[in-house]
């Protein structure tokens, strides 16, 4: 265990001194920020609400799931806020009635949205299946956001494998692998130690991306499980290319070939009618995309997610069986 950690730590230290790896680590976050800027200008993805102290804190929490909420201590200050140039609604409650304050420059659809949110909050107490309706209206998920974030996450699952690849190729170039091979660490410990980064990096990436894109309360644990499964492919390919290559740039461009099946299966999933989806069943990336989609839409169930994961693991297992000999040979 200690030795595994030693290998991983060395790779982390070394990676943080490699400008290419730093770039790989930062890049997905930049993409997510760009995506976020695009989506917030495309549709009414967020609602800004200013509330006074007549709105209780559970209501505020509820609203925060869907928009930005600012709290003020008096209705005058709320009014003043609403009068500012940006799109902000005021919300206050007198007795049992809510009133929405608007300036006139707000989008009409946003008003409907806020009305809907308020009423669905109140209806919550009646035990109505509000959650489902909320997704159906799709207000906080423009297609770009729904698919874009998902695509990005599946896409970046490759980056962990790429970091493994770079570290491995370096280890071959410098022939430090020989030194490791004459120490008492076992091959399995070494491989696990090297492989860990391939899972850690995409988990950090995906959580960061989801947070930046602000999908609200989705099940992060499910996301992590899916990421762990889909990252296996990239780790495997990272190892395979890493042990057979002595040139970093060449190795990376071979690894980039993975983007073809990824983009192929995801765009297939988005644009093909569902009767054609069976054409994509061979692709683990399809299953990952599929699972993430339901997670993002908050429709996912554990049994559904685990089914998709099993399929991914099965496909990965077959690939592993085909490649493991080659990898083992390369590590000598």
């Amino acid at each position: 265990m200690k030795k595994i950690f030693t290998i991983t730590m060395r790779d982390i230290v070394s990676s943080l001194r490699d400008s290419m790896i730093i770039y790989i680590i930062i890049f997905p976050f930049i993409l997510a920020v760009i995506l976020r800027m695009m989506t917030s200008s495309v549709g009414a993805t967020t609602v800004n609400i200013a509330v006074d102290n007549s709105i209780d804190s559970t209501m505020v929490e509820y609203l925060e799931d869907f928009g930005n909420v600012e709290t003020f201590d008096s209705i005058e200050r709320v009014n003043k806020r609403v009068n500012d140039t940006d799109d902000v609604f005021g919300l206050t409650k007198k007795g049992l009635t809510y009133s929405i304050i608007q300036e006139g420059n707000e989008r009409a659809s946003s008003v409907d949205l806020l009305e809907y949110m308020v009423s669905s909050y109140e209806n919550q107490n009646l035990d109505l299946p509000i959650e489902v309706e909320v997704s159906d209206i799709g207000w906080n998920l423009s297609p770009i956001k729904q698919y874009g974030g998902n695509l990005l996450i599946v896409f970046i699952s490759v980056f962990g494998g790429m970091i493994i690849l770079i570290n491995l190729v370096e280890e071959k170039q410098e022939n430090t692998l020989s030194a490791v091979n004459v120490s008492s660490i076992t091959r399995t410990q070494y491989v696990i130690g090297k492989g860990l980064l391939g899972f850690m990096v995409p988990i950090i990436h995906s959580i960061g991306i989801l947070a930046i894109l602000n999908y609200g309360q989705i099940n992060y644990l499910m996301v992590i499980v899916v990421i762990l499964c889909i990252a296996m492919i990239s780790v495997l390919i990272g190892f395979l290319i890493g042990v057979t290559n002595d040139n970093i740039l060449g190795a990376i461009s071979s690894m980039k070939m993975l983007f073809i099946p990824i983009l192929g299966s995801i765009f297939g999933a988005i644009f093909l009618g569902s009767q054609w989806h069976y054409l994509l069943y061979w692709s683990p990336f399809y299953w990952a995309f599929n699972a993430l989609n339901s997670i993002i839409l908050k429709e996912a169930t554990w049994s559904g997610v685990l089914l998709n994961c099993s399929i991914i693991i099965l496909i990965t297992g077959i690939i592993f069986a085909l490649l493991s000999k080659k990898i083992k040979r390369g590590l000598n």
Binding site: K3, S14, E170, A179
Partner: protein
């Protein structure tokens, strides 16, 4: 400590052997020198004995483990210094050693102590990629000592080092040898082999030609020579005579009796000369 019987190795897996039917044994505590010209098969032999190259044919036993399927535990007892230095360029000298020591299950030497020994203390916190060739080589050498190896494989530990540092390294090896480590030393440097090794083996084209102690080899193959410089009129003449051959001894006598001697000294045959004599080839 090492036992090798009928060892063969071919990189091309045919009858072009880089190691050709090699047999030898190294006793515990012994310092064994492996000498031969470039391409003789020295590194290949070390590669097989350290498990970096697979066993093809023959028998090799290292530190009590059969090299057909050695256990990882064996490496706790082994130290390996490589012909071509191999350290992590992005890590500092100290980080390189700190990383490597954690890969062993046995007690290890404090990295700073080792850096001091090989004269790298002043660059302990510099990245190895900024090091000169010789510095990297010393770091590789230092790394091989981390786990206080019982059996120490040294592939050209002094090659490419300046003479003063090479001498220091030689002293370190000598020290460890005295402390009881078994040493398998590959080198081109005959003086170091002569000084350090209890026995040496001469290998050429994969074939081990001869094994003996440096002293025996000198007695057997070396002839005592006398180099002499004398004045013949105004001319200074140089000559060299064997003390073994009667005819040459008489000539030498004649010179001593009739000329003014400028310089005269006896010379022992070096291992290198013996090597050339035995194998008919130089050591380069």
């Amino acid at each position: 400590m090492i036992k090798v019987e009928n060892l063969f190795y071919s990189y091309t897996k045919d009858s072009k052997y880089a190691v050709d039917d090699v047999n030898f044994e190294v006793a515990k505590g012994e310092a064994f020198g492996f000498l031969g010209p470039s391409g003789a098969g020295k590194s290949t032999t070390q590669g097989i004995l350290t498990g970096l190259l697979p066993m093809q044919d023959g028998l090799a036993e290292v530190a009590g483990y059969n090299m057909k399927n050695p256990s990882r535990k064996m490496f706790n007892k082994l130290g390996v210094s490589f012909e071509q230095s191999n350290v992590y360029g992005k890590l500092t000298a100290l980080e390189n050693l700190e990383f490597y020591r954690k890969l062993f299950d046995v007690e290890t030497i404090e990295p700073n102590v080792l850096l001091e020994i090989v004269g790298l203390s002043h660059v302990a916190n510099k990245k190895a990629s900024t090091f000169s060739k010789g510095m990297k080589h010393r770091l590789t050498f230092a790394r091989s000592m981390l786990n206080k190896p019982e059996l120490w494989f040294l592939d050209e530990p002094t090659t490419g080092l300046d003479p003063a540092i090479a001498n220091q390294i030689k002293d370190v090896i000598k020290e460890k040898s005295k402390e009881g480590s078994t040493i398998f030393l590959t080198t081109h440097n005959m003086f170091i082999a002569d000084e350090l090794c209890d026995r040496v083996g001469f290998i050429i084209d994969g074939v081990l030609k001869l094994i003996d102690s440096p002293r025996n080899l000198k007695l057997k193959y070396g002839q005592k020579l006398v180099d002499i410089e004398y004045k013949d009129g105004n001319e200074i003449k140089k000559d060299s005579f064997s003390l073994i051959k009667e005819e040459e001894r008489l000539k030498l006598n004649h010179i001593i009796n009739n000329y003014e001697i400028e310089l005269m000294h006896t010379k022992e045959a070096t291992l290198e000369e013996i090597f050339i004599k035995v194998t008919g080839r130089g050591l380069v």
